[in-house]
C-alpha cells in the first residue's frame, strides 16, 4: 500500500535503529546500509531528502542546483506542508500506527482522536 505520507519530506536522516516490522514491510532499510550505498555512489546520505518520520520515508531526491530540481523540491515542501496543515499526513500516520487501511471506519476513529485535540486548539486572533 502506498500511503500518501510518503511524500512528507525533510532533511533529517532516519533513525539508525533497526527497522521495525512496519518499515520492513514498506521496503525501508537501515540508515547505515543506505549511507554505505550512497557513499559507494559518491554521495553523502545528506544529499538525500528523507522523511523525518521513520515510517513515512519519502523518495530520495538528489540535491541539485538545477532549477527543475529546486522547483520540484519546493513543490514537494509546499505539498507536504499543506498535507500537514490539512491533517492528511496525520491520517496517514494514524493508518500506519493502527495498521488500518483507508476507510470510513478508520477515518471515524481518526476523527475521534483528532476532535479531542481540536477541543484544546484555539483559533488564533
Amino acid at each position: 500500500m502506498k500511503a500518501s505520507g510518503d511524500l512528507v519530506i525533510g532533511k533529517s536522516v532516519d533513525r539508525t535503529c533497526e527497522p521495525t516490522a512496519e518499515t520492513r514491510r514498506r521496503g525501508e532499510e537501515k540508515l547505515e546500509h543506505r549511507t554505505r550505498e550512497a557513499r559507494r555512489h559518491g554521495k553523502s546520505h545528506r544529499d538525500g531528502v528523507f522523511s523525518d518520520h521513520p515510517i513515512t520515508r519519502s523518495r530520495a531526491i538528489t540535491r541539485s542546483h538545477s532549477a527543475r530540481a529546486v522547483l520540484k523540491k519546493m513543490i514537494l515542501i509546499v505539498r507536504a506542508t499543506l498535507r500537514e496543515i490539512f491533517d492528511e499526513s496525520a491520517y496517514d500516520r494514524f493508518l500506519l500506527r493502527t495498521h488500518a487501511s483507508r476507510s470510513r471506519a478508520s477515518y471515524r476513529e481518526f476523527a475521534r482522536e483528532r476532535d479531542a485535540a481540536m477541543l484544546k486548539k484555539p483559533g488564533c486572533c
Binding site: G10, V13, H53, A80, I85, Y91, F94, R104, A111
Partner: protein, 678 residues
C-alpha cells in the same frame, strides 16, 4: 563573516534605512506602498539574521544535539518529528487570524507611520522574540502549555492567573470578532447570503470527508472553495433579485443569528462543522494572503493616507484615544500577540525535530504574520482618507446621517461627498458603506481596490470586495466556533474540579450547559457593542487589545523567569524590555479606559455622562455595561500585576543568590540524529 556577506548585509541595512527614512520624513506628497514593503523586508532580514541569531546563541544556547520531545516521545500522534518548513507553514497557519488584518486597519486612523513603525519594531524586538522563546521553553519541557509553565516556573497563583487571563481574552476576542462580522454583513444581502452559504458548504465537506472520500481533506477543501466562490456569484444574483429582502438583516438580527450559530457550532460534533470549516478557512486564508502580497507587488499602490493625522491627539472617530498607548494595543497581532504564546506552547513544540529549528519556526513565522499586518496597513492606506473615515466611523462619532458624516469628515480636512460614497457603494454592490465599523469592510475595500487594479478593473470590484468580505468572515467564524469550543472546554475543565461529571467532555448536559454559559458571556459583550451608538469597536477593540497584550505580558514573565533560572541573567533585557514596554502600554491603556475624564475614552466618565443626561430607554443597562467594562479591565490588570510581582520576586531572589535556580526542564537526552546535527 566574508567580505562579500558583509557588503550584502550593509546594502540591506542601507536600503532598509532609506525606506524607513522615506516613510518617516516624506510629508508633502503621497508615497508608494513599496517603501513599506522594502522597509519591512529589510527589517525582518536584519532582525532574523542578527538579533534572532544573538538570542539563539547567547540567551537560549540552542543545542542541536539535544533530543526534542518530538523525538523522545514520538508516538505518531501528537509528537511527530516534522520537516522544519512543514512546521513553519503549520505554525504560521495556526497563528495567522483576523487580528493582523483588523488591527492595522483601525490604527491607520493615526496615519500609516505609527502603525507601520510599531509593527516592525514590535515584531522584531518583542513579538518574534516572545514566540521564539516560548516555543523553545515549551520544547525543553516536553511541550507544556503556557499555563503549566507559569505554574511550574513561577507559582501556582501564576498558573491560575494565566488560566483566567486566557479565558477572559477568549470571551472578549469572540465578542469583538462577532461584532466585526455583524458590522460587515448588516444590510448586505450579498454578504449575508455568501457567508450563510459557508455553513451548509462546511457541513457538506464534513459529510464528504466522513462518508464519501475519507481523509481527502485537500480535495474537500478545494471543493469547498469552489462552492464558496459560486456562493459569491450567487450572492450577487440574490442581491439584485426580489429575494434580497430575505437576506437583508439589521445588526441586532445578525447578532442573534451569530449567537445561535456559536452555540450550535459548540454543541455539534467537531467533524461535522468545526473541522471542515477550519480546513476551508485555512485554505482560503493561505491563498488570499499569497495573492494579496502578489497584488501589492504588481500594483505598487500609492498610499493616500498621510503619515500622521490629526487624530494622534486622541480625538479619532474610529476609536478614541491618544497615540500612546492606544496605537500599541490596537495593533496586537502583527507586532506582539499574547495569543501566539498559546500556539507556541500548544501543538508546534511537539513537532519540532531539532532545537535549532525553533528560531526559524518561532521567530520566522511571526515575521510572516507581521508582514500580513503591513499588507493590511497598505490596503487601508490606499483608500482616500475621507472614504476610510466614512466607512470606519460610528454614527455617534461623525453624525447620524450620511450628509452629517461627510460634512464632519470634510471639515477635518479629508474631503468626501455623499455622491462619491454612493458611487463606491454601487461599485462594490452595497447600498451604503457608511458607519461600517470594525475594520473588515475598510480592509475589504482596500483589498478590492488592489485586486481590481491588477485584474478586471472597476467592473469586477464588487466581486473582489465580496471575496474579501467572505475571506474575513470565514476567518472570523472559524475563530468564533473554535474559540467557543476552547472556552467551553476550559470551563468544563475548571468545573470538573467542583463536580466531576461537569468535566466530562462526552456528557451532553455538561456540553450544553457550558456551551450556553460561554456563548452567553461573549454574546453579552457582542450585544453591548451592537447597541453602542459609537459603533461598539470604540469600546470593545481596546478592551480586546488590553487583554491580548496582558497575556503577552504573562508569557514574557514566564520567559524572563526561565532565563533568570537558566543563569542567563545578564541577557534578561531580551524579554524584560518588551515586558516593561507592554506593562507600560497596557496599564496606561487600562487606566485611560477606566478613569479618563473624556467620556469617549473612559468608561466611568461615560457612565457618569449617561447618568447626568436625559432619561432614555435602556439607560441603566448602558451604565451597567460601562461599569462592567471598567471592572473587567481592572480585574485583568490586578491579575497580571500579581503575576508580574510574583515573577519579580523570583528574579530578585535568584539573582541575589537567596534561592537556588531550578528550572523544570526535561533532562538532557542526546539526539539519535547527531550525525545530521554536525
Amino acid at each position: 563573516m566574508k567580505i562579500g556577506k558583509v557588503l550584502i548585509w550593509l546594502a540591506v541595512a542601507a536600503l532598509g534605512a532609506l525606506a524607513l527614512s522615506t516613510i518617516a520624513f516624506h510629508r508633502r506628497e503621497p508615497i508608494n506602498a513599496m517603501w513599506l514593503v522594502v522597509a519591512a523586508l529589510c527589517s525582518y532580514a536584519l532582525g532574523y539574521r542578527f538579533y534572532s541569531k544573538f538570542v539563539a546563541a547567547k540567551v537560549l544556547a540552542l543545542d542541536a544535539m539535544r533530543a526534542t520531545p518530538a523525538e523522545r516521545l514520538e508516538n505518531g500522534r501528537d509528537f511527530v518529528r516534522t520537516n522544519k518548513w512543514v512546521v513553519f507553514g503549520h505554525h504560521f497557519a495556526a497563528i495567522a487570524g483576523p487580528g493582523p488584518l483588523v488591527g492595522p486597519v483601525l490604527a491607520a486612523q493615526f496615519g500609516y507611520l505609527p502603525g507601520t513603525l510599531w509593527i516592525l519594531v514590535g515584531a522584531v524586538f518583542a513579538g518574534c522574540v516572545q514566540d521564539f522563546v516560548i516555543l523553545l521553553f515549551s520544547v525543553r519541557r516536553d511541550g507544556k502549555s503556557l499555563g503549566q509553565m507559569a505554574r511550574d516556573e513561577i507559582s501556582k497563583t501564576a498558573g491560575t492567573v494565566a488560566f483566567i487571563s486566557v479565558l477572559s481574552i477568549l470571551i472578549i476576542l469572540l465578542a469583538v470578532v462577532a461584532l466585526i462580522i455583524v458590522n460587515a454583513l448588516k444590510d448586505s444581502p450579498w454578504g449575508a447570503f455568501t457567508i450563510g452559504m459557508t455553513i451548509p458548504i462546511a457541513l457538506l465537506m464534513g459529510v464528504y470527508l466522513r462518508y464519501l472520500r475519507p481523509g481527502r481533506v485537500l480535495e474537500a477543501s478545494l471543493l469547498g472553495f469552489l462552492l464558496v466562490v459560486a456562493a459569491i456569484f450567487g450572492g450577487q444574483w440574490i442581491s439584485q433579485s426580489t429575494h434580497a429582502a430575505a437576506f437583508t438583516f439589521a445588526g441586532t438580527t445578525l447578532a442573534i443569528l451569530i449567537i445561535v450559530y456559536g452555540f450550535a457550532a459548540s454543541a455539534l460534533p467537531v467533524w461535522l462543522l468545526l473541522a471542515p470549516r477550519d480546513y476551508l478557512s485555512t485554505f482560503v486564508k493561505l491563498g488570499t494572503v499569497a495573492i494579496l502580497a502578489l497584488g501589492i507587488v504588481l500594483v505598487r499602490p500609492t498610499l493616500q493616507m498621510p503619515a500622521l493625522t490629526r487624530f494622534i491627539d486622541g480625538s479619532g472617530p474610529v476609536f478614541a484615544g491618544n497615540l500612546f498607548p492606544f496605537a500599541f494595543i490596537t495593533i496586537a497581532c502583527g507586532a506582539i500577540s499574547g495569543f501566539h504564546s498559546l500556539i507556541s506552547s500548544g501543538t508546534t513544540p511537539k513537532m519540532i525535530a531539532r532545537e535549532t529549528q525553533t528560531r526559524m519556526v518561532g521567530y520566522g513565522a511571526m515575521m510572516a504574520e507581521s508582514f500580513v499586518g503591513i499588507m493590511a496597513m497598505i490596503a487601508a492606506c490606499t483608500l482616500q482618507p475621507g472614504t476610510y473615515l466614512a466607512v470606519n466611523s460610528g454614527a455617534g462619532m461623525v453624525g447620524g446621517s450620511p450628509t452629517a458624516a461627510v460634512a464632519t469628515i470634510s471639515n477635518w480636512g479629508f474631503p468626501i461627498t455623499a455622491d462619491q460614497m454612493a458611487v463606491l457603494a454601487h461599485n462594490v454592490g452595497e447600498k451604503t458603506l457608511f458607519f461600517r465599523t470594525g475594520g473588515a469592510p475598510a480592509f475589504a475595500l482596500g483589498m478590492a481596490k488592489i485586486f481590481s487594479d491588477s485584474l478586471g478593473g472597476t467592473a469586477v470590484m464588487a466581486i473582489w470586495y465580496h471575496f474579501a468580505i467572505m475571506f474575513e468572515a470565514l476567518f472570523i467564524l472559524t475563530v468564533l466556533d473554535a474559540g467557543t469550543r476552547v472556552a467551553r472546554f476550559m470551563l468544563q475543565d475548571a468545573l470538573g474540579h467542583i463536580w466531576k461529571p461537569l468535566g466530562r467532555t462526552s456528557w451532553y448536559p455538561s456540553i450544553v450547559a457550558t456551551s450556553a454559559v460561554t456563548v452567553a458571556a461573549w454574546g453579552y459583550f457582542l450585544w453591548q457593542g451592537i447597541r453602542d451608538p459609537l459603533g461598539g469597536i470604540n469600546s470593545l477593540w481596546p478592551l480586546f487589545g488590553i487583554c491580548n497584550q496582558l497575556l503577552a505580558a504573562v508569557a514574557l514573565c514566564v520567559a524572563t523567569t526561565i532565563i533568570v533560572k537558566m543563569g542567563r541573567s545578564r541577557y534578561i533585557w531580551v524579554t524584560l524590555v518588551p515586558l516593561c514596554w507592554l506593562v507600560a502600554v497596557t496599564f496606561a491603556a487600562a487606566w485611560h479606559k477606566v478613569f479618563d475624564p473624556n467620556p469617549l475614552i473612559g468608561t466611568l466618565a461615560h457612565a457618569r455622562q449617561l447618568a447626568a443626561g436625559p432619561a432614555m430607554e435602556g439607560l441603566q443597562r448602558r451604565i451597567f455595561n460601562d461599569q462592567l467594562d471598567a471592572a473587567v479591565c481592572g480585574l485583568l490588570v490586578v491579575l497580571v500585576s500579581v503575576i508580574v510581582i510574583e515573577s519579580a520576586i523570583q528574579w530578585i531572589s535568584v539573582i541575589s543568590g537567596r534561592r537556588k535556580p531550578a528550572t523544570q526542564e526535561a533532562p538532557f537526552v542526546a539526539t539519535q540524529y547527531a550525525e545530521e546535527a554536525l
